[in-house]
Amino acid sequence: MKPAVSPPRTSAIMVQVTAALLPGAAALYALFGTAVALQLTVGVLAAVAAETAALALRRQPVGQTLQDGSAVVTGVIVALALPPDFPLYATAIGVVLGLWLGKHAYGGLGHNVFNPAMVGYALLLLAEPAAIAQWPAPDGPVAGWFLNAANADAWTHATPLAAAEGAARAEAPGTAVWIALNGAFALGGLYLTARGLLDRRLPVGALAGLIGTALLIQAVPGTDPLPAISHIYLGATALVIFFVVTDPVSAPADPRARWVYAVGIGATTAVIREWGAHPDGWAYAILIFNATAPLLDRLLRPGRGRTSGRAP
């Protein structure tokens, strides 16, 4: 008869987030083979090592804090976002620097301004722009389902976004591969959404911002952009909108500020994809809006004497 309101614990949330990444990881493995498993192993080990070292240096309770699982999530996201044949040492460096510079430098979980996974990824993007833009040809167990020998060649040495930007924007090679990958990540994301473990405003806002801006770009005369709809399944869209944009720590707190934040990230990504030097734009878009989150909170917070949401 006691009131039984028992919310999930932080650690439970992180376990579920990791579990929700599994379909995407499995799809990557199916397409690219053991390289993906290696990336994941290195990412997780590097994350645990970096977290342990940082906690020990900061004289924090290591076991208890490690349990919250946020470091593992960071490692997994970085590992999944990188091309499977990316140098493993570089993956480890990205994860370690992401956690140290992105999280512990600010005082640990809950105090970081930037998303640690995106800090790590952005550092690698700066350090190894060529390697990060080149995905290998799928050679995993089921790669044959999607590619024949001919377009496997076309695929090599270019992400579909880069490929789509370059040679005749017709049918980008491997579109089916990317649809499958994004679909798998979206599956995990929808699971989290159904469990109520993420703020629905964030993925919805980011997707709306992305597609809306892509449509606007299409309407600009003289441009020859990607079809707006293809933004949904190209690049890291599903992974990012469900697992990175939804990171509550680096997002604003106010509901209205969260809308602006999410739409802004989507819009900026579309702009970077169209006119930027990088093939995909999520990482920088997220870091830019991470930086504006406190300002958005300040500007959009309801004024003195008024409260947001429901009337009292």
């Binding site: 009131p3 919310p7 949330i13």
Partner: protein
Amino acid sequence: MKMLRTVKQWWTLRPPETAGAESPPILAPVRPERLIVPLTDPEGAVWEPVVAPGEAVTGGQVVARGTDPTPFAQPPRHAALNAVVEALETVPAPHPAAPGIPAVTLRVTQTPETIPSTSPPDPVGDAMPDTILRRIHEAGIVGLGGALFPTALKLSRARGCVDTVIVNAVECDPGLHNDAILLEHGIAAVLDGARAAARATGATTAVLAVQDPLKARQCRDAMRAHAHAVASADEIQVRTVAGGYPEGYEARVIEAVTGRLRAPHESSSECGVVCLNAATAAAIAGAVSQEAPLTRRWITVSDARSSVHGVVSVPLGTPLHTLLAHLAAPTHDARVRVGPWRMATSASLDAPVLADALGVWIDAGAPPDEAERPCIRCGACADTCPVGLLPQELLRAALSDDDALADALNLDHCLRCGACDAVCPSRIPLTAWFRHAQDRQAQRADEAEAADRARQRYEAHQARVTRRTREREEARRRRREAARSDPAAQKATVAAAVARARARKKGTPPS
């Protein structure tokens, strides 16, 4: 419409609804051997005892009267049962950390209880508003929803400026069942009380607000069944207030019933409503029709470790340990908290159970040992906050002592309902921090006010000194000028002075 609501719930993620569907059993009433009648209240008001040690008192007799001359500000306090006054002494305060409080202690005598009924039952419909208010005051009735605000004072302030009386029978907390029991067993009194309150305030509408359609139907049936006792049941509407913690929160009930929004810190009568707890309404009925004082109340008791769970009628002033012994609830190695579930505070076992004890919660030994983790700003608290605050931001303000930020985030609107604690995945005791921050803010406001008063006194003093100096200067100047402007007078003055000097030399006083 229903789909829209479902979508909205899905979107905002309300915490699971937990209010019990069935009422728990009514436990045997407590028969304490001693009663404690405190002579102060948490606000610092003082009551003067009107009985002496050794004196016999009957149940319902006044033992202490208020010292505040404001009408209705301090309702008298009564002996709940027949008893002999034992002593005027210091007893432990309800909160274990607080210093003791002065009180009248009574030894209950075994003579059968008699509630003095000086006058025959008096139909509520005939009483004049002034009579109603006086009887409510004399019966010692205070708000039984936990606020303990004097009911007569509330109604007298609302008089003439409200059109609706709402009787709030929505349990204010998951786990409480006092209102359910009251509706089941005393609905006639609740309705009579509502009618009396409407008469006293001049309100034209009376509404009984209940939690769910099932209860609403039960109430309507009961009203029909009591049609002979209840003069005109149809003059009181029954309305359902959709759940969502904290259900019984007054502003939410008012909005659900009348559609009027009450701003925080606005009093309910400013939006034309006076809101009474159902138990208060029942007490009003007793006071108005039979001049029966408030001597007992329903309390929900819950023991997390055993099967003790139910609602019990407790004479006010019963020591907590007596109640626990009566329930056969083991008290060693237990935390006992008194109040609404979420706002309940640890209680001293020797302290009396008073009118604000909505529930008694007995929890297993140590508090649940769950490590607090850092805030991950997930926003669950903001989504669940009934007044739409941003608890995670408020926490930052509270932790960093930032009064300005806390103010900007409307800390003063926080009800301390604890909904945010309940949904926090990091198990942060948010409400405890907000309570702390609110207390500190109040303390700073007090200090600022004291400093302000001191400054005003100093400034007034300075102004007085300056004014007197200026007046003296002015008078001197006037005398000088008067002398200068009239030579004859000047000569006369000099002559007079010379005459005085001569007279002094001769030793004779000047004439």
